[in-house]
Amino acid sequence: MLDVAVAVSLTMLALAAVLAFVRLVRGPTLPDRVIALDLIGVLVVCILVVVAASTAQRAFLDVAIVGALISFVGTVAYARYIERERS
């Protein structure tokens, strides 16, 4: 039963990543693209958590921690870049 739930969850997460990627390509302004990229980072962490639960490998959770850290730093850096680009 858990295999079915994992398969359904991974499918939905992949679909959400596709939707966020469409916004990343189409986004009319730069903050739209940054938001889409941030959402893709969160979705990667979500996929890693589901894979860690289904394979019982702790290493995926370590990768998820590092991914969350880098995603946050990247988002803040992009926001600083947007603010500096204004002037």
């Binding site: 858990l2 739930a5 994992v6 959400a16 939707l19 730069l30 940054v34 969160v42 639960a53 680009e85």
Partner: protein
Amino acid sequence: MSEWIAGGLFVAGATLALLAGVGVLRMPDVFTRMQASTKASTLGLGCLLVGLAIRHPDLSFVVRAGSILAFMMLTTAVAAHVIARAAALSGAPLWKGTVIDERPHGDSPGLPPSRPAPGAESLPGPEN
């Protein structure tokens, strides 16, 4: 029994993440997209991590899940605030149905006046 609870939490978390994706694609301006992304992805990741902790109740899994959850709860709000501030300072267009905009208009040199979206009619949004 714990497998059923964990599976239900996985599906619920993935549903919330999918709603975040739909919201980012369909919402009309930067700020509404940001709130759709942030709120749903935080709660979705929380559901997935609680499901993981129920599925594997080892100390190593629970500690890692708790640290990811605490870190994401802290940083998602900060990142959303920083993006929203950058978007507001760079004069991102607001949705035409925006009710209130508390930024000062014109008389503050640091803030550009908010302007309506150039193609506001063609943006997706609620029809009425």
